[in-house]
Symmetry: C3
Subunit: 412 residues, 3 copies
């Protein structure tokens, strides 16, 4: 009976013409369908275990991959732009000299970048001009005679170019060509001179575009109009969408103490998080602001290790009596880095199919595990082995014949 089935197609192809051969091949291809044969094991223990494993996998695929991780959506990150503007005026009265500091004076750089520094403390050295003067009276610059100050040598951390002279009578330090007098930054004003910075406000304008979905959003979302902006101040619970931040609040939300960070400086990261599900309406796509202390926090364990605070030097140049002079400021301040993190998600057929495909793959793992139980752990494993497998003999040397195939069938 077996042989009869085999002869038929070969007879057919031999006796027919080319055309009908192709037609047959095509119809053979299209009218046939293979599906794996399966054993239906009626065994309570195996059944329950396997079904539970399969249900677990299914729950994982649907619950986790689809619902939690939203595997049916494609993602896109945004092209964004940030513009910042500080408002507020500081006031100092040092040695009887009143002075106000407006945003032009205390923001670096001035043009509203996403990364900027707000000055909170400073050491000012007025009227520096190019000339010769002794180094600072610090241990590393001290000298006893001219031979300690080799001419032309530049101390890397020094203030100038040694002339070879030791200024013995006054400070006992080497003389240098430098901006004179040299800055003395050994004592940092405490408390910080511009403690009023706590009341400055920061306005953040952020627009993001998700190119793949053609969606453009601004942190001035629906409802944040001109009127609201004029009076609101950001608060994590009551006004989480107000784009105006009080500096003191920012510092506190980052876990810093204002007096400490104001004195020596530090860095704060403002993260604007645009995580949007564009399967909902665009207007649901709103920013979330979070604040991180980047460094300078004195409570941190690494504080003792190295290099606390944030400072840089800055000079205002002017001409006086035909000579170039400068006012040098060592600025201690809070650096703000505004970081935009964005990810938009929308239904897409490709990741959906990929997630399903991968889910089927994981289902395969469940089958493998169940088979292992069935074939190796159960007492009746040999019976199931026989049900599952049809064994062919090692009959390589023998030609294919009626007998061998008969024998195979009979072995089942």
């Amino acid at each position: 009976m077996h042989a009869r089935g085999m002869e038929r197609p070969s007879c057919l192809s031999r006796s027919s013409k080319m055309n009908s051969y192709i037609t047959n091949a095509l119809s053979d291809f299209f009218f046939k369908y293979e599906t794996p044969r399966q054993v239906l094991v009626r065994n309570r223990r195996v059944g329950v275990v396997c079904r539970l494993i399969q249900l677990g996998v299914l729950a994982y695929i649907i619950g986790w991959v689809f619902i939690y991780e939203k595997g049916y959506q494609s993602t896109d990150t945004a092209v964004g732009s940030v513009f910042t503007k500080m408002k507020g005026v500081g006031y100092t009265k040092v040695d009887g000299e009143e002075r106000v500091w407006d945003m032009v004076d205390y923001v670096f750089p001035e043009q509203g970048d996403s990364s900027f520094v707000v000055m909170t403390n400073f050491i000012i050295t007025k009227g520096q001009k190019m000339g010769k003067c002794p180094e600072l009276a610090e241990s590393r610059y001290l000298c006893n005679s001219n031979s300690d100050c080799e001419r032309g040598i530049i101390e890397r951390t020094g203030h100038g170019h040694m002339t070879g002279k030791c200024v013995g009578n006054t400070t006992k330090t080497c003389e240098v060509v430098a901006w004179c007098p040299v800055e003395d930054d050994r004592k940092i004003p405490d408390p910080a001179l511009l403690m009023s910075a706590e009341n400055y406000t920061l306005f953040i304008k952020n627009s993001v575009t998700f190119p793949a979905y053609g969606v453009k959003r601004s942190n001035l979302v629906e409802g944040i109009d001109n009127q609201y902006i004029k009076s609101c101040v950001y608060d994590p619970t009551t006004s989480p969408l107000c784009p105006i931040f009080r500096l003191g609040d920012l510092v506190q939300l980052s876990g810093f103490n204002f007096a400490t960070i104001a004195k020596e400086g530090g860095a704060i990261g403002i993260v604007i998080d645009w995580t949007c599900n564009l399967d909902y309406d665009q207007s649901e796509c709103k920013p979330i602001y979070t604040f991180h202390g980047l460094y300078g926090n004195p409570n941190e364990t690494d504080m003792a290790r190295a290099s606390v605070g944030y400072n840089f030097r800055y000079a205002k140049h002017y001409m006086e009596d035909k000579q170039e002079k400068r006012t040098l400021l060592k600025v201690f301040g809070i650096r703000f880095d505004i970081i935009v993190r964005s990810v938009a998600r929308k239904f897409d057929i490709i990741p959906t199919l990929t997630a399903i495909g991968s889910g089927v793959g994981i289902f395969g793992v469940a089958t493998v595990v169940c088979d292992l139980i069935l074939l190796y752990l159960l007492p009746k494993r040999e019976f199931y082995n026989n049900m599952k497998f049809k064994v062919t003999e090692t009959v390589e040397q023998e030609p294919l014949d009626e007998f061998s195939s008969e024998k195979e069938v009979s072995k089942e």
Copy 2:
């Protein structure tokens, strides 16, 4: 017959030594191969439907995953660097005073960053010095008596630190310690003072390195030599690779009107897109420039909402008569953000295998769908059920014996 097959291996292992046992296990492992048994269903309707589903899946995998999404390639993003340089001179004649503005005057910051501002309009306040003067004659600063101007209070959006005096005779506003006279920015020059900015040119130098492939490219690609750069101007159709951009063109390509953006300021994103298929020659890897209005577009719906334009303040300090003075500029300008997006692709064996593996997984879905049709929808579903499944009885209580296995076989 069944029993005979089962006894043989156990006999063998019992009678042979350990060595030959391992050899046998190995040869057993290596000389055997399992392949699923399948039913070949000869049914036109099922066959055609299933083959079409399978062909669709195959077309999807090959056409989409491989050809369209290039799933056989790995990807890498670039480490890049952008340098910009503005050229052009502006000219103003205000109150008979002629003045030219070169790049040092109108670009902020000056060092050629990827994000910078070009000044197009300004409000100048000359000769400010630290002192006491009345606030601006605006409604929110008005006062009737000294009691309205509490000493020491700083109005957040004001210009200084109140002295507690109401300057009654002239402006009827509180007196403040501030940079005096205070800036009056209530009237923005219209049209913009530096409308000539339209003719400035921007030169962009951008180099990108794809570390994973060791490929380094510059936007000065092959053919863009010194000679060409001297004369070319970017045009999306005729000179899409020229790295020199006319400001008026940039504004227009971003959907802005130059007169409007010049007056109040705005922000434009220049995206340099490096999407490279490195399976072709490196020289095919060329940048594409696109331009987006980031904010400040008055045609936008959110314009009415809040905060249009782009401006910041900037001061030039000088010494006069031993006193520090400054020239304050409120700068309105166009901010350019140059954003490099890069992705290079190259053939890689890993993603190829992964894509194939995932494709096989999706194929499995096709099989599941076809089986559902075959086993649940067709009129002959019970017949196919019997073809596909071999059922074992619930014979847990019985030991494995000749009889039960006989029965199973006979049920097929």
Copy 3:
């Protein structure tokens, strides 16, 4: 016998009530388990080939996907912040005038950004003021008569706004309204004026936070304390974690020659690579510094093409005799871009399951390949075809009956 098996469930459902029907369906579902039936082919050639393919796939999945690519881990990129500080003093003696240059003078911008320029060479134009003066004596500005200098025209690459006059007696160039005298940048000082920049040092402070794992790291890792920082200098082999870099070393490690880059300027990328395996201890997560020449390398092939070097202009404004004046500097310098690349990995159950699922999918490919060999290449392919497939006749027109199913079975 076949028919008997089929009748039983249908009888049962007909005779039983609804409740017991659901119970039955559930127990049917839970107590049954399908597993594919397989042919166990005992053929040495097929067995060895297939086992080798399967072992290869298994080795690939375990070795590559799991061990090499760490497919069992999820990944996260960091939110980071970079702060830089230059130290060192430059010294020039031009025309007998001694001058030192400190960090305030040679770093742009001054506030310690992650992208900054160190001045190494300059062309200084002192005492410019707004006025009328002839253009530079260069070929493109030359004129013979006033008619060559059209009034009001601004030459894009020129220095000002033409007055319409040709200054015939001296330079034979058009007169312009400009900052006068105009800068003459035709000769770049060689060697660079600030060759001493080679000995400047750069201190980099970098902190990164991996939000997904709540891990915060600084480039001042364990062991890099205040004491160590005071004396160390980065060296790729002996001090790879010292955050202080000598400028000359940076230039050399990027493949530049210091004398060349100092003269005309260039750009260097400093990549801080945080590739961390957080399955180990956090303290193992350390930065790796690498250095890339971004552009300006004269050894490069594209050097001849266009636009070498890095320069920008910068002005210091001052008031003299009630008139605004400026000192213009054309600055040639080295631009440093500090790029943080970060990826942290940690064991996660999701990617592990996904990798396993995808591995099973690839295993499926191995089975397909082996089946192709078995069914199409072997001499005994027809025998194996018969073993693997059970064929149903095309019996669509006939109803399901005892006879047809009998025939199917008999064909095996």
